[in-house]
Structures are given as C-alpha cells and as structure tokens.
C-alpha cells in the first residue's frame, strides 16, 4: 500500500515531500526579503521605519501560525475577488494555494529572520565598514562586497533554525488544499482507511527532511566559517 507499484502511495508521498520542500524554500526566500527589509528599517535609525518594523515583527511573532495562514489565504482570495469584480470578472477568484501558502510561511519567517539579520549585521566589525568607505566604495558596492557576505556567514546558524521552523510550518498549508506532504498523507489516510500507517509514513518523511537539511546547514556553516577557524585556531 505504501509501495511504489500501481496501487502504491509511495510516489505520491515522495511528490508531497518535494512539494513541501518547494513551498518551504519559497517561503524562506520571501521571508528573507521581508526580514532584511525589517532589519534595515530597524538599523536605519528612522523613527517611523523602526516603529513599523517593530510592529510587524512583534505582530507576526505573537499570532498563531495557523491563523496567519488562514488569513493570508482567505484574505488574499477575498481581495482578488474584489479586484476581479471591479474589472468585471464575476464570482469568486481564488489565489493559488502554493502562492498563498508560501506567502503565509514567508510572512511569519520574515518576522523572525529580521532579528537574525540585525544581529548578524551588528556582528560585523565596524572597522570593515570604515575601511570600505575609506577606499571609496559607495553604499551599494559596500553592501554587495562587504555586508552581504559577512551577514550571511553570521546568519547561517539562525537561518538553519528558521528553515526547520518553515519546514514544520509548511504542514499547516495543508488546510488550503495544497498537496504537500501533510495533505498527501491525509488523502491517503482517508481513501485507504489506514490513517495510522499514512501519518506515520508522513512523520518519517518529515524527520528525513529535517535531518538531511540540518546536515546541509551544518556543512554550510563549516564552509562559511573556515576562514574564521584559521584565524582563531
């Protein structure tokens, strides 16, 4: 039943796991854009910007993830329907579940990533930035050559944690009907009436995903800090 044959659900579950990977990764990327914008607004020293950034971060860290995902899914569909009615499209217009799900995971992840990036930026030695200015780099060049590589290096452990969170949060997208791992396990459980076997298989696949990607982040951290190790060791 869980095999790969004609009647097996093996392939469907693997496809679900890949969809989980894809939607979590998209969510993490959306979160990294939002997170770096918030970190920037907090670091800029602008009062209004910092207040907005703070409000965003504390709001999305204080709300249940499931509620945020429902809100993004229903909310964006209602918005799209309203816009559709304005331009003459009748009836309900749904947002694709993948887009809504990735946006939901990303909006939550961004609130947490902001702190990771802010901490990483503050860990850059001020002398490095001064040196960059002294040799005449303008802001964008300095951002690309000096800030981004170092922020990423310091941010890897924090990002690794948030990746695990995004991976687990992505299971909540199953409520929108996207056939990721959780949803596939649900469908399999319903149509074969073997919920225990299917949810256990799903659990095993989630554990595999988190375990394997965790090793990947460990390797990335090792590689990114190889220069630091040489300096200290």
């Amino acid at each position: 039943m869980l095999g790969f044959g004609d009647k097996g659900w093996g392939l469907a579950l693997i496809a679900g796991a890949l969809m989980t990977l894809a939607v979590s990764l998209t969510g993490l990327l959306i979160g990294s854009v939002l997170g770096s914008l918030i970190a920037w607004s907090k670091l800029s020293g602008h009062k209004v910007g910092a207040t907005i950034g703070d409000a965003y971060a504390s709001l999305f860290r204080g709300l249940p993830e499931l509620l945020v995902i429902y809100f993004v899914y229903f909310g964006s569909s209602a918005l799209l329907t309203a816009v559709g009615n304005l331009v003459g499209i009748e009836g309900f217009v749904g947002v694709p579940a993948f887009a809504a799900g990735a946006l939901g995971v990303g909006v939550i992840s961004g609130a947490y990533q902001a702190e990771v990036y802010r901490g990483a930026y503050l860990a850059i030695a001020p002398g490095e930035l001064e040196a960059a200015r002294a040799v005449g780099m303008h802001r964008l060049l300095m951002f690309r050559r000096i800030i981004v590589p170092q922020v990423l290096r310091y941010a890897i452990p924090g990002l690794g944690n948030l990746w695990q969170v995004a991976l687990k949060d992505s299971s909540l997208i199953s409520v929108t009907g996207l056939t990721e791992l959780m949803r596939t396990a649900q469908v399999g459980a319903g149509s074969t009436r073997q919920p225990f076997a299917f949810y256990l298989a799903g659990l095993g696949l989630y554990l595999t995903l988190t375990f394997v990607t965790d090793r990947f982040f460990e390797a990335a951290e090792k590689r990114a800090t190889r220069g630091l190790k040489r300096m200290h060791g």
């Binding site: 204080g62 229903f74 919920p195 949810y199 989630y206």
Partner: protein, 231 residues
C-alpha cells in the same frame, strides 16, 4: 457598513471560546513540563538506554510538525485495535485529551532541551562548594542546582510558553471549539472574511502580550543580582 453590533457579537462569541484555548494551553504546559523533566533526567542520567531513548524522543518531537503528531494521535491511534482495547481508550476518544496529550509531548521535546541547557549552565564551582559544605543528593538539587537552573531557563522557557499559545490554534483541526475554530465558523456562516479572523488574532495577541509582560516581571524578580544597586 460593517455594524459595530456584528463586531461586538463576534467578540463575545470568540471570548466565550477562550476558556477552551486556555485549558488546552495550561494542561499541555503542565504535563509537558512534567514529561520534559523526566526526559531531561533520562538524557543526563548517564545510563545509555535512557539517554538514547531521550535523544530519540527529542529528535521525533522536535523534528516533525505538531500537526502530524496531533493527527497520528487523534486519527491514527483509534485505527489500531490495540489502542481501542487499552485502558487509555476513554481518553483517546475525546478530542480534548488527544489535543492535550499531543501538545504536551511536543512541547516536552523542546522544553527538555531548554532544561538541559539550563542544567549545563549551572557553574561547576557552585556544585563543588555545596558538596564541600556537605550537601548531596536531593538537598543539593533543591537548594543549589534547581534555583540557578530555573533562572537560566526562564527566558527560553517563556518563548516556549508563548509559542504554545500559538500551537493551541491547531486543535481547531480536530473538532475542538477553540477561538480560531469559532472564528472560522463565523466566517463560514457570514462570508465576512476579515473581521472574525482579525478579532481572533487580537485576542491571541493580547493574551501573548500579557504572558510576555508576566515573564519580564518574573525575570526581574528572580535576578536581583543583575539590577543596578540603589543605595
């Protein structure tokens, strides 16, 4: 025009569901803390089978989504005859107990790591000094290790407690009438999308805000040595 009446009625219905959310939250933190203490003890016991079991427990409950754990317990367990005939069946039949059991086990996975980190942060010298004074066993644990470890654990533990409030929203998926599921029911019945979800969000947010304040106050109370001295 969205009437104030509707907002007020929605608010009353959602507040009426808050006790369910709080009950699940409180019981799962209570049992989760107890399980976590046991798992931490096994993890640091130095007895190989125990510490392997604790590692496996932590790996499973931290490495997989709460939702699938909840579904295994609520939908999965009743499908195996063994569970149906066990003495636990009267509990596993009720979505409320399934929710508490599943949330407690999940939070125990995270909390036991917090406890382990706090234990590791107790300075060796303090324990040595206590031993030199002749304390051992339970007295050493109660007077020296526990107070220092509890203080160390507080910031991380407060994060876990707050994330548990958010986790209770998942019980809406196993037919419990908590704040979120009532909000979704109102949305379903009235086709008004934003208002019920926004009010539910406000309730969760205020609850978490109060929790965060309480923990800030607790941290202040238990760390007099870090305060600026007032002469």
């Amino acid at each position: 025009m969205m009437s104030l009446d509707f907002i007020w009625l929605t608010f009353l219905r959602l507040i009426a569901a808050l006790p369910v959310t709080i009950e699940v939250w409180f019981l799962s933190i209570l049992f989760g803390g107890f399980v976590a203490a046991c798992v931490t003890w096994m993890r640091v016991s130095g007895i190989l089978p125990f510490s392997l079991f604790a590692r496996l427990f932590i790996f499973i409950f931290r490495g997989s989504p709460l939702l699938i754990q909840l579904f295994i317990i609520y939908y999965g367990l009743p499908s195996i005859p063994f569970a149906r005939h066990s003495f636990l069946w009267p509990f596993l039949r009720e979505p409320f107990y399934c929710a508490v059991l599943s949330l407690a086990l999940c939070t125990a996975g995270y909390t036991s790591e917090i406890f382990r980190g706090a234990l590791a942060a107790v300075p060796r010298g303090q324990v040595e000094a206590a031993r030199a004074c002749g304390m051992s066993g339970f007295l050493l644990f109660r007077r020296i290790i526990l107070p220092i470890a509890a203080r160390q654990a507080l910031p991380a533990y407060s994060t876990e407690v707050i994330s548990m409030t958010k986790a209770t929203a998942l019980v809406s998926l196993i037919t419990l009438w908590d704040v979120l599921s009532v909000a979704l029911k109102i949305r379903n019945d009235t086709l008004i999308t934003y208002t019920p979800l926004l009010i539910a969000g406000a309730i969760y947010y205020v609850f978490n805000y109060i929790l965060a304040r309480v923990f800030v106050w607790l941290e202040y109370v238990v760390s007099p040595h870090l305060r600026r001295r007032v002469y």
